[in-house]
């Protein structure tokens, strides 16, 4: 870095300023830069320096503004751009930072460190073209360095220039050979070769992939990766016979990897997995058996658990509960252990309780687990099962107490401690939750630094339930911060892994981080955040209304109530900041646990909606494999998008809701779908042309849906399904919830459907299907038993 227009003495002064910047001595730097500016007030490069010193001495905003000014006044100066870029980077405004650095580089900055940093930043913002250009620049200036070659290969790969990448690899191999001073290590060769195979497969250059697999085999020590790639290659070229061989090698290496069995089945659909005699496969195969053969295999499967690891058993067989035929058989199997030894009786009681829980007979489950506890009072697992059941029975306080009993039986176990925290927060016991957590925290540490998302989510949910909006929203906000941290954590590793040839891991990281929001915790907290914000918005809206008009006595009363609520919230804030509480004042302030700073940004309804939209935007693109979790979050967006009159997003949301319909959420789900359809009805005809331009997944959206007739039948169908659901769940009209009745009144069509359904001969609303098929099962099973020859 250099500056023109300065005399020799001033130039020295300038250089010493640079040293101060490097040494992070910002205070002195600020003073000295101001002195120098007295002599050269118009030198924008010195102004830039002053700006960055200001930025780091708690004049953040002013420093940022001044650096920008300097750039504007001297657009030709690479130095000014560079400094402005550094400030943007410190702001984590990476896109802006890259723009600035590229300006600096274009204007002649030749600092290799800067070019390398910019290249890494450009991967970070996923500007792969820019990265390619910068890596080329690095390579041109230092072609002797292997790392510059490897970085260039990766950059070509990322823009899909495979031919270029293969070519560069060839040249790189030569450079590696010549670099005698830093000989490549065996592990690095292993990694580099594996990468080349993957690259060839990604490029669909199968000839090359084949050659690589043959040529590199002896250099590769990571056989797991090797055979996985080989399998992928064989499958891609359709050579299943060879693919089977690859997967057999993999099974020798990792016989417990279920994915390999699936790969085997893919390559050989006829394969008989039963020859693999391990608990994983045998357990999986149970699902395919029926009747006596199932009973025998089942007994054989569970028996070893009785000797050793019974508390883990139920999870291993839970998946069998999707098959009604198996449930009674399993129950019978458990019962056979009731009259064996004392310990087996205990296990049997425990299993039967879990069994009842699974078929949703919670009272029975409770009875059985109590019996088990009477039998043996010292087994923590029993109390956890009891807590789980009590939760279903909505007895949250008792559930907490039961979990706490478990905890006290093994105080060193963190799992039991965490479970107790979960139940405590379910019972709205916030302080107890924090105290329990502190038992496993080192002095001075806190859950926020350690990114304990599960804890934040639980506490946030509780606070929201109690309507303490500020503290609640801040817990979710902290969760999003962690997701942002995860993303920023990548920055250090781009160059690192290029240097170590771990390019395969690097590519995987990029992919994983890009998909980081497809995680249960993110989806849950984003949904709750939108909900909490909505409550805050309504609260503000109501306040405005009250401020604007004279109050009737009733409204005055309401206001008083509201104020009381706020008083309580204040109290809670204080509770969050009791001196000597596990979270010190410093921690409370640093993480804004009372949510004050957050609420400061949310003063108007517009602010709130803006923030809701920010989360909704991310949420609507997530893809997670649990429908219930998805639905709970997506439903929060319905009101938001309808209020904002956003038909395209509503249409997209509708698809999302339809895709995430489950037995459990059906009724509520239909209500939300109805709201969306009603809204969308206004837009028929005008919408279709736009949809074509909209995103890919919307184009796939059932286009038929948009013609009038279709909309009508859609609506009818949903009403019908909705009525069915209501009737199924609530047999008598007088038992309907008020909102269901309201629904029937609001939709005349629904009423007709409802009556029709009631009168049909199909008596599905009269019996509990669960019990019906169970009885049927028992009968069938008994009949079979009798007809079996002895």
């Amino acid at each position: 870095m250099k500056s023109t227009e300065l005399n020799a003495k001033q130039n020295n002064e300038f250089k010493s300023l640079m040293r101060l910047l490097e040494a992070k001595d910002y205070k002195k730097g600020l003073k000295n830069s101001e002195k120098l500016l007295e002599q050269v007030p118009d030198n924008q490069e010195v102004v830039s320096l002053k700006a960055i010193f200001m930025y780091y001495t708690e004049e953040r905003e002013a420093g940022l503004a001044l650096a920008y000014q300097a750039v504007l006044k001297n657009l030709a100066s690479d130095f000014c751009w560079h400094i402005y870029g550094l400030i943007q980077k410190a702001e984590k405004n990476y896109i802006q930072a890259v723009k600035c650095f590229i300006q600096a580089i274009n204007k002649g900055e030749e600092n290799l460190q800067l070019i390398r940093d910019t290249a890494n930043l450009s991967i970070h913002i996923r500007d792969f073209e820019g990265n390619n250009w910068l890596r080329q620049k690095l390579l041109n200036s230092k072609p002797g360095m292997v790392v510059n070659w490897v970085g260039f290969i990766l950059s070509q790969h990322l823009i899909g220039n495979y031919a270029g990448a293969f070519n560069t690899i060839k040249l790189t191999e030569d450079v590696i050979k010549k670099d005698i001073q830093n000989p490549i290590k065996k592990v690095e060769i292993n990694e580099f070769k594996l990468y080349q195979i993957q690259l060839a497969i990604d490029a669909k250059d199968f000839q090359r992939a084949k050659q690589n697999l043959l040529d590199f085999k002896n250099d590769i020590t990571d056989l797991v990766s090797f055979y996985e790639l080989e399998y992928e290659y064989f499958i891609k070229i359709g050579d299943n016979t060879s693919a089977i061989q690859s997967v057999k090698h993999l099974l020798d290496l990792q016989p417990q990897n279920w994915k390999y069995y699936q790969m085997l089945q893919k390559a050989d659909p006829q394969v008989d997995l039963s020859i693999y005699n391990n608990t994983l496969v045998q357990g999986r195969l149970l699902a395919q058996k029926e009747g006596d053969s199932f009973l025998n295999s089942f007994l054989q499967f569970i028996d070893p658990f009785f000797q050793k690891s019974l508390p883990s058993l139920f999870r291993e067989i839970k998946h069998l509960y999707t098959d009604p035929n198996k449930i009674e058989i399993m129950k019978k199997a458990f019962e056979t252990y009731l009259d064996k030894s004392q310990i087996e009786k205990l296990w049997a009681l425990m299993l039967l309780s879990q069994h009842s829980y699974q078929i949703k007979d919670y009272n029975q489950s409770l009875e059985l687990i109590n019996e088990a506890i009477e039998h043996t009072a010292t087994l923590p697992e029993l109390y956890l099962i009891k807590a789980k059941t009590l939760k279903k029975l909505q007895k949250f306080k008792e559930a907490y107490e039961s979990a706490d009993r478990a905890r006290q039986l093994d105080l060193a176990d963190r799992y039991l401690n965490n479970q107790t925290i979960k139940y405590a927060s379910l019972a709205n016991m916030i302080v107890v939750s924090q105290d329990l957590l502190s038992l496993f925290l080192k002095d001075g540490s806190d859950p926020y630094e350690l990114q304990m998302i599960w804890f934040e989510l639980n506490i946030g949910r509780t606070l929201l339930r109690l309507n303490y909006l500020g503290p609640a929203l801040q817990q979710f906000n902290l969760i999003f911060k962690h997701f942002q941290e995860m993303c920023d954590d990548q920055l250090e590793f781009y160059q690192y892994s290029i240097r170590r040839y771990t390019l395969r891991s690097l590519l995987q990281m990029i992919d994983a981080i890009d998909k980081r929001h497809d995680a249960k915790y993110f989806i849950q907290s984003a949904g709750l955040m939108i909900e909490g914000l909505e409550r805050l918005r309504v609260r503000i809206q109501e306040q405005r209304k009250i401020e604007q008009k004279k109050l009737t006595p009733k409204e005055k009363k309401l206001l008083a109530k509201q104020q009381q609520k706020e008083q309580e919230e204040k109290l809670l804030k204080e509770q969050f900041s009791i001196e000597g509480h596990i979270f010190s004042r410093d921690i409370q302030k640093r993480f804004d646990l009372s949510g004050e700073q957050l609420l400061d940004q949310l003063k108007t309804q517009e602010d709130i909606i803006k923030m809701q939209n920010r989360f909704a935007q991310v949420l609507i693109h997530t893809n997670f494999n649990n429908k219930e979790v998805n639905f709970q979050a997506f439903k929060q967006m319905v009101g938001l998008y309808i209020n904002q009159q956003k038909p395209l997003l509503c249409a997209k949301l509708l698809t999302k809701l339809r895709n995430n319909e489950t037995e459990q959420n059906r009724i509520v789900n239909h209500k939300y779908q109805l709201m969306l359809i009603q809204f969308l009805n206004k837009y028929q005809g005008t919408l279709l042309p736009y949809i074509k331009e909209y995103q890919q997944d919307l184009i796939q959206f059932d286009q038929q849906f948009w013609n009038d007739v279709q909309i009508k039948t859609q609506l009818d169908q949903i009403i019908k399904r909705h009525c069915e659901a209501i009737i199924k769940e609530k047999p008598f009209e007088e038992n309907l919830e008020s909102e269901d009745l309201q629904f029937l009144q609001e939709y005349p069509q629904a009423k007709v459907e409802y009556m029709n359904l009631k009168q049909t001969t199909h008596p599905f609303y009269k019996y509990d299907p669960n019990i019906e098929w169970q009885n049927h099962q028992i009968k069938e099973y008994q009949e079979k038993q009798q007809t079996q020859p002895l």
Binding site: V187, N190, T221, D222, L223, V224, S225, L253, Q254, Q256, N257, W258, K259, T279, L280, G283, K308, S309, P311, S312, R315, E316, K318, H319, D413, R414, Y415, L416, N418, F440, L441, K442, D443, E449, L450, Q451, M452, I453, W454, H482, E485, M486, D489, E492, F493, Y496, S497, R500, T502, R504, S505, L506, Q508, M509, D511, A512, I513, K515, R516, A519
Partner: protein
């Protein structure tokens, strides 16, 4: 049903979660990422395939120098745990054996080392009796709560003479 497989980058946040439910020694995500970026082949997880949850993991790395400062490539177990709900199914044993194999075959490690609380019966049973680790040293007050640690090693190659 639990599947044992090498970790993918997507698993890292779930490994962190599992760790938070099992041990008082916790790390931020970045530390997991660091292991993943350099020694991905040493990271193994136990995944409950019914729920898709990560119920156990081993986080491991390589070192080129041993404690005496001599050059001796070896592996190190940074963290190992299995959720209480899935214990005694042999999962810890299996993830450990997988990472051992890769330390030996891929990195040509001479040995693997780890620290364990002197009171941790389950872990000691696993390391000493099942996996063949030996106590190399006891480190006083190694843990934040002042408990001592055994520094244990298991050799893949011949021990150098002076040991």
């Amino acid at each position: 049903m639990v599947s044992i497989r090498r970790a993918e980058m997507q698993d890292l946040q779930h490994m962190q979660h599992c760790n938070l439910w099992c041990l008082p020694e916790n790390y931020t995500y970045k530390y997991y990422l660091y292991h993943g970026m350099v020694w991905q082949s040493l990271l193994y997880v136990a995944e409950d395939i019914n729920s898709g949850r990560i119920v156990g993991y081993v986080l491991a790395k390589q070192d080129e120098e041993d404690e005496e400062g001599t050059k001796l490539e070896h592996g190190h177990i940074t963290s190992l745990s299995v959720l209480r709900t899935h214990r005694k199914l042999g999962l810890a044993n299996k993830v450990m054996q997988s990472t051992h194999r890769d330390m030996d075959k891929i990195f040509e490690s001479h040995y693997v080392s780890l620290h364990v609380r002197v009171s941790n019966r389950a872990a000691l049973g696993l390391y000493r009796d099942k996996l063949g680790y030996e106590t190399f040293d006891t480190e006083e007050k190694y843990y934040a709560d002042d408990e001592n640690a055994y520094n244990m090693r298991k050799w893949f190659r011949k021990k150098p003479e002076k040991q």
